[in-house]
Amino acid sequence: MSETVLNNPSIKREDSASAVDQSYMNMDLLRFTTAGSVDDGKSTLIGRLMYDTKSIFEDQLEAIEKSSKTRGDENVNLALLTDGLKAEREQGITIDVAYRYFATPKRKFIIADTPGHIQYTRNMVTGASTANLAIVLVDARNGVIEQTRRHTYIASLLKIKHIIVAVNKMDLVDYSEEQFNKIKKDFLEMSSKIGIEDIRFIPISALKGDNVVDDSERTPWYTGGALLSNLETVEISNDHDLENGRFPIQRVIEAEGFKGFGGRVDGGIIKVGDEVVALPSGAKTTIKTIETMDGKIEEAFPPMSVVVTLNDDLDLSRGELLAKTDAQPESATEFTATLCWMNKNALSVGNKYILRHTSNEVTAEVVSIDDKLDINTMESVNDVEDLKMNEIGKVTIKTSSPVMIDAYTKNRATGSLILIDEESNETVAAGMITA
């Protein structure tokens, strides 16, 4: 039942004995991205996942039924559900990342749907930057191709811990175990050089629905479970850095008789009483309280947004970072990073940019481009003059004042950066700090 507030009939607030079923409110959240070549079936797969989990509404379904008919498709074309993309292609618009949502009783899912063209590496990087997991689609007829390697490499570069290789269109190879095993072997051979923690292989047909939501009877030789049950159960609880205490200060929070520091825990488990050091100043203190509007808490972990108060009155501001004294980041004015270039104006040595790292902003100069990845051969090329749009390379960066860095492989938050063009204010590069 609802009660009224302040005897005001216009306003209702639920009383504490709410009848809402709590179990569905305690789901966890998995963010994943899709990769694969054009026509491997990404759109069909996402459509299938949403359709089979009843995440498509009647008016949306009617709309795609109608356009399927207009197009002369035999069945309802599930790809149309996500394919604002198709229209984009026809209109020649820059193809972009789109986000989709669905939920099961176990988890809520956020899909970063990235298009598969070679030239859109930057979109894949964008989608992968926030993902816990990547589904790499492989056409069962074609097996591991260049694009598979490229996307797997990007996923590993962005430190996505979990990869599901969905061998799609199994219906077109008679659900052949042999073909599936061959693809698996080829893939593992390729990925062993890259290094990914968790790789699974699933034979599917996005079109017919085999092993997408329900286990298929046509692949009795496969026992790893359908795609959805893998998505629902993959262990993601320790995908964050829980070792190295990191709390970048976003904003000083003041109220009468109160001064605290608002921010998000970007690493480690921060507890009341912990000894911390403010960087770059180097002042040491201890955590007095951890506050939220719902009350004080004893500990906070990634990615919680909280307010901390300190036992010493330090004059700290945005851009500084509180680190636990037992595991401090490096304070650096020169370091190397892998950059994915995202702008039509290429990067040349000597260019200056604004560098954003956690809540900190400094001026930066790229002092050298050390190598560039040949996305076709996956080999690095030395003797590089510039980095063009969608190219990936290793650079050395100098900053005007120190930044508190970790290697990206250690901490995704304190190991990542973006470069911003000072003139246009556009975001021109994504960077993963290497040392």
Binding site: I11, E14, D28, K54, D96, L242, I253, I418
Partner: protein, 301 residues
């Protein structure tokens, strides 16, 4: 070992708080667009959390069409008082009087289209460089590509062809003269998340979100409320029905849905089994019992 995970609602909450703090630090004059609907009510709740125990450090902007549900205005005024907020009201009537907006002609003029004019005028008047909105990416296809920090050019236009890439949570709010940003802190929320969060946080809502009796007329399948701005057409009559609102807008165009959901548990049940998007305003009449059963059977709700 204890598992350090957050529920989906806690993760979405933390993400929104992070966005609020970024914006207030990166921009000079942010403001929140407050429609009085559930999305903006949730957004305000998150803003309070972001700056607590401090005050919400920016004003709310309400575009008043003059065609509001009285409950929505009561709610707004209660909220402002209760949480010590600053409110700016942009008046569509004001724009009409000034001559910058022109009232529709005909029997039942809607001021829906005029809101944008008043909004832009208000943003300009207060020099707002970042306007928070309650848009969600699940609402429609075009929104699926919207950024958290959505850049608007000097003409206030969104250019979906040339959006800034948004990597990790490193948001870039830098802009050139005359440009500004729209900010969507609840981008990643679905309609269900919003309702679950309202239940979890015991957030007060305008009462018209809950089932109540009201006189409505069925016009082209949309149940319109009796109001001073609605003139009955030939052969139309008002009938009293048990209804509630799924979204809030002007009385002249917001359709009610037949519903007996008078508490959040009921509403959440209804959202779960609904087969139409909240935007597809074909009333929930079409909702079949079978749909509800289907979902229950499959364990989705």
């Amino acid at each position: 070992m204890q598992s350090y995970t957050l529920t989906h609602l806690k993760q979405l909450e933390s993400e929104a708080i992070y966005v609020f703090r970024e914006v207030v630090s990166q921009f000079e004059r942010p403001a929140m667009l407050f429609s009085g609907g559930k999305d903006s009510i949730v957004m305000l709740h998150l803003a309070r959390k972001a700056f607590w125990p401090g005050k919400v450090p920016f004003p709310l902007i309400h575009v008043d069409t003059g065609h509001n549900f009285p409950e929505a205005i009561d709610y707004r005024d209660w909220l402002v008082e209760e949480y010590d907020l600053d409110l700016i009201v942009g008046s569509v009537q004001g724009s009409i009087d000034k001559g910058t907006a022109v009232e529709e002609t005909g029997t039942n003029p809607s001021r829906n289209g005029l809101q944008a004019i008043t909004l832009l005028e208000t943003l300009e008047e207060y020099n707002v460089d970042a306007a928070f909105g309650g848009g969600r990416r699940d609402e429609e296809k075009a929104r699926a590509k919207e950024r958290f920090f959505s850049h608007r050019d000097e003409f206030g236009q969104w250019n979906p062809k040339n959006q800034r890439p948004e990597l990790w949570t490193l948001y870039n709010g830098r802009y050139n003269d005359y440009e500004h940003f729209r900010i969507f802190p609840i981008s990643n929320w679905t309609e269900m998340d919003v309702w679950q969060y309202i239940a979890q946080e015991r957030i007060a809502l305008p009462s018209i979100y809950f089932a109540h009796k009201r006189k409505v007329v069925n016009r082209n399948g949309i149940l319109l409320a009796e109001s001073p701005w609605n003139t009955l057409l030939k052969d139309e009559v008002y009938e009293e029905k048990l209804i509630r609102y799924r979204t809030l807008g002007d009385m002249t165009c917001t359709g009610a849905v037949l519903s007996d959901a008078d508490d959040l548990a009921g509403i959440i049940q209804e959202v779960a089994s609904s087969r139409t998007t909240e935007r597809g305003n074909r009333s929930d009449d079409k909702r079949s019992e079978a749909a509800m059963e289907e979902r229950k059977l499959q364990g989705y709700f």
